[in-house]
Symmetry: C2
């Protein structure tokens, strides 16, 4: 049952999209190839018609996740609104649909160079986009770039730690709220 070239490309995209979500939600090692294919509606055997390896898909999935994240960023009116979305309870609850940096930072260091490059490129864009929206404010005695890096590191750390804390513990909420207050204050 051969398929239209257009259809095949569309199917491939579905797998990448599923991977972008599942890898963020459960980690690279936490999702099997057959699950990735099943999530896109296929059986596992066809996987290697599209990708050289699970790792190759991982690199594409990281790219795709950062691209999606960038689109969400563009939708925010300004930096405070972006921060509120980023450090929200909804973001904590849905790692598969939120920032790939917060979800995957810990694991990426152990992945192939392709994955690490894709991750670094996405992160760089994230920092650049925050820097652009940062008010100049020379009073701080810090470059905008330094402030952007600090802001991104703080956001990523807060979200990742909030997810690690048990749902019941007050720490999870506090990490998001205190980090948000402090970040907004710093702008």
């Amino acid at each position: 049952m051969r398929i239209t070239k257009v259809q095949a490309k569309e199917n491939r995209d579905r797998v990448v999209a599923a991977a972008a979500e599942l890898f963020r939600a459960r980690g690279f090692e936490g999702v099997a190839v057959n699950e990735l294919m099943a999530a896109a509606g296929f059986t596992h055997g066809g996987f290697y018609n599209h990708f050289a390896s699970k790792d190759a898909l991982a690199a594409e999935a990281v790219e795709s996740a950062f691209r999606q994240m960038a689109a969400v960023r563009e939708r925010a009116a300004d930096l405070p609104q972006m921060l509120r979305g980023y450090l929200s309870k909804a973001a904590r609850r849905a790692p598969g649909k939120s920032c790939p940096a917060a979800a995957l930072a810990g694991e990426v260091g152990r992945q192939s160079d392709e994955v690490r490059q894709a991750f670094a490129a996405g992160l760089e864009q994230m920092i650049a986009s925050v820097e652009e929206r940062l008010p100049p404010g020379g009073r701080h005695g810090l470059s905008r770039r330094d402030r952007a890096v600090r802001l991104v590191a703080g956001m990523v750390g807060a979200l990742a730690l909030a997810r690690a804390a048990p749902d019941s513990s007050p720490l999870a909420g506090e990490l998001l709220e205190a980090s948000l207050r402090a970040a907004l204050h710093e702008l």
Copy 2:
């Protein structure tokens, strides 16, 4: 070849110590039970004489790693010195000997409740210890607690992201250096 009770306790501690280092370096899923035992000088079969499961060891290892981290913190004369050690190239290079929060945050959310509780307890202590050392400085308009939470989130995020970035890329160094400058500036 039965062994002294004292010796057995010592052997058990060796396994926990090895796990505390290996889990930080390679993640929970990245280290097999036989490797954990081998790192402590044993064969894998005896594992279940000491631990109910790999997961039970993970919880103890997280505790142990945070305890070790706390000891390192105590050694620092003040907050700036602590920050410089935390955000150093050496820390980036040796995840197994550095902060468990930065190394494991991403994975902990998918672990058992025991592991998550141990993680949250260690993190809480880390925040409390930073708060204690924070200069009062009411001028900030933020509680010390908020500032401590923000500082810890920023440190953890910066270290985790710096490890994810490729060794060759300038991003890795920048994440550590810019975050350090900004954090010191903020004190």
